[in-house]
Amino acid sequence: MGKSTNWRRLVIFACGLMAGANANAQLSPNDWKNSLQQALQNQAPPQTPQGQPTASPANDILQMPVSAGQLFHQKSASGEELAFVLQSLSMSARQRQSRDFLLRASPVASTTASDYVQRAKDEALKALLEGAMHGYGKDGDEKSYSDKSLNHFLDDMLENKAGLHSTRVDLPKQGESMTPAQQERLLILGAMVIGARLANETLQQAHENFRIISTQYEVLLDRRQKAASLLAGVMEQRRQAIAAKNELEARKLTNGLSEDDLKFIDSFGPKITIETFANDVGLQNLALSYLRKNDPASYADYETDQKKFVSSSKAYLQTVGGVAAFGGFSGIFVKQLMDMVRAKDYTGGMAALSLIRDFIKEAGPLMQSSSDALYDGLVTAPKNAHRTYRIEHAGTLTDIDHASEIFQSLTASGDKQLFDDALFRDNVPGFVSHVYQCDPEHAGDLLDSAVPAAQRKQFAQDYLNWQEDGPFSFADALYDETASTGTKRLAEPLLNRDQRKRADSVAIGQIQAQTVANDASWNDIQLMRMIVANSEGTRAQMQLGGSIVRLVPSMSTIFAYESYTDVCIKTASEDPATRESDRPAPSARPKKTH
């Protein structure tokens, strides 16, 4: 009995040692894996030729140069000298494995406090670290970000040779006498400080660019309203001609407008003014169409400004998306540092403290900006935005600010069911399929937003036999499928058929059902693009039973319309296989609900 109990205790103790934790430590499966890898490394250290970068089985991404230890001797390093870390991180992101970067690059090493003095030091250090990290990287508070955006962003950063050269970080002198694993961890921290500093500079520049985009938008809106003014004048003359019973004159005035167009204009009331145009994207588009036919030179000017606005906006979104991704990654990085602290795996942590403080100071604002706040005014619309949509129901017009209120309004009128039913259709393209026709990535994004990550991954493994480690994204899968010349395994059954009730593939039906169940969580840019993609002609409106949802001109809606038109023109005119270079910014996808 006593012997058996002792054996049990010994096994439990030994397992505890392998986990590298005391009785209170909570380790993840990754920690277990890493502990095992560490044990294996200790048992059989890798033999590397002198002068070659060291690489271990658990550390096959990060290639430490042999001169890395020298950096501690000089007590500081430039971004150039630490670029190898950022390159490894970029590679991890390309392989959608950035979330494991720190653990993969620097596995958790088990330590046990040997005496009271050491234990007291450990506790003091833990308190210091937790204090420094207070407010960041709490459990379960991981920021969502796109690996692709992170990869793009880091690649751009690595091309900024001047920035890397001039940005430096202080390294602790005691790093010289540390083990390679401890040195490696300090250098990763140093590289993260460099990355965060450069990201902050990029963010500042992006804010400057946003001011330029705002000006471009003002110019564009002015041109749209000038076109509106032209048409409003014509419509006023037509009204007077009709009042004077001069039918011929009325027809002459509206040359270039179809009966349909006139009816559409008339539906806004008997007396149309310039203000009327300011309330409807579709009506403004009609004015532009009139301008193109009657004043081609002015229309050409509009087109030039429109291209500038769309191109600058996309570049801006790519940049802020990249910064947001780096901020999101920083949040995860901090969390993993916290995990190491909790696992008492911070030998040499005192030396890292100043680096950790530097990093927290630099990355704090980035982590904050990984929220949608960065997209304000362009994609998600600022929280104080007014009148993004106008909904017509039973002869009443109601101005609505955000997508969530549109969904509430449709639910109240009983028309939300029609929206849900129409997302996926048999025989004719559903709403999501229409989005896909021009913008596969955005169509996938609609699904990514509505379907939880775990369900997406399970689907990919079951249906596509997907074997990768990272999260699965429909946006990536649909885009990649479109860019390839192979068979369309996913788009056809997923988007062009309704399998919610009767399914050839139950897995597809479940994804569709989940998408519909969560569609009310779609944000402004998602709803706007859906309206634009499904509208007839240039009218930015969607009919759902007795309700018609229209877009009111604003920076967000004009961007949604113009960028969608832009991507449609590209899709129609390009060979899919050659589109990779011109791929729209992945970061332009809002990630609020991922």
Binding site: K33, A39, D260, L262, K263, G430, R502, A513
Partner: protein
């Protein structure tokens, strides 16, 4: 010597630690490894809206024999259509086609042996016997209120088509109507963006192209009505199985893909007590009590039998080692019934 002893000891500890690590680390599960479910004790909710009368037939371990009959689509008295019968014929929208659509929709639920009379088209009075087989259920359908109108969705005009399929379902053995009243399934096409023929300005709707398109609207509307009716029929005639074995963790049943079950289904196990009512030759057995017992997840669904693992057990079950008895029944859960069903 002493140092060597320490080294040997260290090596032994490292070796032991590695062995322990191997023992402590969990290998990834093989694809064939079954999921182990924790059976929770909680009240089990009985699914609603399905026909318990079908239980009698389950005991015979055969599929329900269903005869389908559509009573025609051709211009009922109140029809207002914007295209002529000749276009219907061109599109293949004949009575026979409609009957086939109706029949196919019901057959796709994979739980009935279906019979129809497509060779002789639609006829009045569905049969109770067909080619020597006695039917269990007769489903009859009829389209009413076929209507097409031009609606104004400024700046456009488009066609809005609506109709209603009335379906009745009768248990041949008892003569009982299974739907109280009848199922009324609307079929609407053109109420939402992207549906319905758009009418461009200055284009007459009687051009051949427009007529063809308007005829297709009618077809979409009809398909929607049929799909709606089939959903209601599926709900009523939910897959039902029959327990053949059960222990504390799992159960087997008669009931598989041919009865409408599919891999990954959740099912509710329940016990039924009967009583007899009436006198003389009118005396008959009726269900007196239904007791839900357990919920099970069925990964092993075969064509005619299935193996399922318990996930929940009702607190009223006295012996958890033997929660269900042979002859207890199994019905598809609400959640699985409302999810996608395999064609």
């Amino acid at each position: 010597m002493f140092k060597t002893g320490i080294e040997i000891g260290r090596k032994a500890v490292v070796g032991g630690a590695l062995l322990l690590a191997a023992a402590c680390a969990t290998p990834p599960p093989a694809p064939e490894q079954a999921t182990t479910y924790k059976v929770i004790r909680a009240p089990v909710r009985m699914p609603s809206g399905f026909d318990l009368g079908a239980l009698e037939l389950v005991g015979e371990a055969r599929r329900l024999r269903v005869y389908t009959q559509l009573r025609g689509i051709d211009d009922p008295g109140d029809a207002t259509l914007l295209f002529p019968a000749s276009v219907k014929a061109n599109l293949g929208l004949t009575d026979q086609q409609a009957n086939l659509l109706f029949h196919t929709g019901i057959r796709q639920s994979n739980r009935f042996d279906t019979f129809d009379d497509t060779d002789t088209k639609v006829r009045d009075g569905a049969r109770q016997n067909y080619k020597g087989e006695k039917m269990d259920i007769v489903i009859e359908g009829e389209f009413l209120s076929e209507r097409q109108e031009i609606i104004d969705i400024s700046p456009y005009k488009k066609i809005h088509t609506s109709m209603r399929l009335i379906a009745t379902m009768r248990n041949v053995n008892t003569g009982q109507e299974l739907f109280p009243g009848a199922v009324s399934s609307p079929g609407e096409w053109g109420a939402v963006q992207g549906e319905g023929t758009m009418i461009p300005p200055n284009v007459a709707i009687n051009t051949p192209q427009m007529q063809q398109s308007i005829g297709q609207d009618f077809q979409h509307s009809m398909e929607k009505a049929i799909n709606g009716a089939v959903e209601r029929i599926d709900e009523l005639m939910r897959p039902v199985g029959y327990i053949t074995f059960a222990n504390a963790t799992s159960m087997d049943m008669v009931g598989g893909t041919v009865n409408g079950f599919q891999g990954g289904d959740n099912v509710v196990v329940f016990h039924v007590d009967y009583t007899e009512l009436g006198v003389g030759k009118d005396r008959h057995r009726v269900i007196a009590h239904v007791q839900p017992i357990a919920v099970a997840h069925c990964d092993g669904v075969g064509t005619e039998t299935s193996h399922c693992d318990f996930t929940m057990m009702d607190p009223s079950v006295p012996d958890i080692q033997h929660p269900a008895l042979e002859h207890d029944f199994v019905v598809l859960s609400d959640r699985s019934a409302n999810g996608p069903r395999k064609n």
